[in-house]
């Protein structure tokens, strides 16, 4: 167990690689209850969400969710989040554990509207069922037709006997569901999912596998690829920015940076020489340091050592030769396109 922002979290159960493979081939269950949840409600709820989010919440339908940035005035990520529209007067935000208090304060500070903001993180536990067999397992625990729920849609339903927000979302690059359940029912729902998943060989999974899975899928992690000094352009998350929607916090800075051009960008790489580029290691081209690794490590599904790095813009094209400094030794690597892993759509 490790202390993760005040939560005791298992890094691994049976073993990181075994858990990783379970999610890629069968199914895995993650307890990610540390994630924060905020609710924005009232007739002005949409106005407030639009003000603090870089994505266009107005285009969401009831039961639909999207990824978005909660940006500061400089266009940097205070946090990244999933915005769920439950109704036109109720938005449900899932945010990172360690940022939730800051997120809450930030949103309250920008509430120039008549919206209510509530930190509901303590009310919910979040269990993520991920993998090709996730749908089958989740389906056995609810009467709702889960085939009808498309990727990034959700439903409020009875799941494993308790009222649940069940979303077809995840952080692994696989199909799957994230179940927001009442905190007091978490242990029981966990057991029911494990039991329902027995035939599908579901495996309990820890933070270690969560990280290798999301890295293969090249999904950003706050504090690594993104932070208060990194903009969506730099993070390669520009598709979640809707400049044309009108004003929002950070918009001016983003417009300015877009016009000026970005000087650095998150870039995928694969090690070519023997060595593993890890978080924080310096990256070189010739004698010049051109950036640093934001997340790096072995990719269990790919049998390669991969990583994401923040690199000077001139080095971000696919096929650039770079070197990662590993304990004083420079090891060859090459920039590659991301994601590293894409599931085959069956």
């Amino acid at each position: 167990m490790v202390d993760f922002g005040g939560w005791d979290m298992p890094v691994q159960y049976s073993g990181l690689v075994a858990e990783h493979e379970a999610v890629r081939q069968r199914a895995g269950l993650f307890d990610v209850s540390h994630m924060g949840q905020l609710e924005i409600t009232g007739p002005d709820a949409l106005d407030l969400v639009e003000r603090v989010s870089c994505n266009r919440a107005a285009s969401l339908k009831d039961g639909q969710a999207h990824y978005a940035g909660l940006l500061n005035e400089r266009g940097g990520f205070i946090d990244d989040m999933l915005v769920h529209r439950i109704s036109d007067e109720r938005y449900f935000l899932c945010v990172n554990a360690s940022n939730q208090d800051r997120d809450f304060e930030w949103i309250v500070d920008h509430n120039d509207f008549d919206a209510q903001v509530e930190n509901v993180g303590q009310d919910y536990a979040l269990l993520a069922i991920q993998g090709p067999r996730a749908r089958r397992i989740a389906q056995s625990l609810t009467d709702e037709d889960l085939d009808a729920i498309r990727y990034y849609w959700f439903v409020e339903c009875t799941f494993a006997g308790v009222p649940t927000i069940l979303a077809r979302t995840g952080y692994t690059g696989e199909d799957g569901f994230e179940a927001y359940v009442p905190a007091e029912d978490a242990a029981e729902v966990w057991s029911k999912i494990m039991q329902a998943g027995q035939d599908c060989e579901i495996a309990p999974c820890g933070l270690g596998a969560r990280n290798t899975l999301r890295l293969e899928a090249a999904m950003s992690l706050h504090g690594h690829e993104i932070d208060e000094n990194v903009t969506p352009w730099e993070a390669g998350l520009g598709r979640f920015v809707k400049l044309e929607k009108g004003d929002f916090v950070g918009r001016d800075a983003l417009v300015q940076q877009k016009d000026a051009g970005v000087e650095r960008k998150i870039t995928g790489f694969e090690m070519r020489g023997r060595g593993i580029g890890r978080d924080g290691y310096a990256v070189f081209a010739g004698d010049q340091q051109i950036g640093h690794v934001t997340s790096g490590g072995p990719a269990p599904s790919l049998n390669k050592n991969i990583g994401l790095a923040m690199l000077g813009a001139e080095h971000t094209g696919v096929g650039s030769s770079i070197e990662v400094e590993i304990r004083g030794r420079r090891v060859e690597a090459e920039t590659v396109k991301t994601p590293f892993y894409t599931r085959s759509k069956g």
């Binding site: 073993g15 690689v17 990783h20 270690g208 290798t212 023997r274 593993i276 072995p298 304990r327």
Partner: protein
């Protein structure tokens, strides 16, 4: 897990097996269990010197990098080249096939100071409880 009775152990979870003036060094079952799946091992070149208590290589698992500390001083005679292509041997057989280096030792007294299997077993038990 039983730890071989004729080996000696360190608090950093390395083991030493002595044969004449040559010592085989590896990491313990407990160490590999804590590390998880080993994917990369970096060892010194033969003929290089290692000094007791100092890092002489690294073992990387999927999740982390760990230094390996020399249990005693000496000159590296041989390294386990099998680990280059099969680092998983460290997990499968930490006390035998997963050995790391063979060292010609400088001072046998350093070996005598290390923990016995009994002491190490107690040490691991205490560490696991805390």
């Amino acid at each position: 897990m039983t730890y071989p009775a004729d080996y000696r152990y360190t608090k950093e979870h390395e083991w030493v097996m002595l044969e004449g003036d040559e010592a085989l060094i590896g990491i313990t079952h407990h160490a590999q269990d804590q590390l998880g799946d080993v994917v990369f091992v970096e060892l010194p070149q033969p003929a290089s010197k290692i000094s007791a208590g100092e890092s002489f290589g690294t073992v990387e698992s999927v999740k982390a990098v760990s230094d390996i500390y020399a249990p005693l001083s000496g000159e590296v005679v041989e390294t386990n080249d099998d680990l280059v292509d099969q680092p998983e041997k460290l997990n499968e057989s930490p006390h035998e096939a997963g050995w790391l280096v063979k060292v010609r030792i400088a001072d046998k007294a350093e070996f005598e100071k290390l923990m016995s299997a009994d002491d190490y077993t107690k040490y691991v038990a205490a560490e696991t409880e805390s």
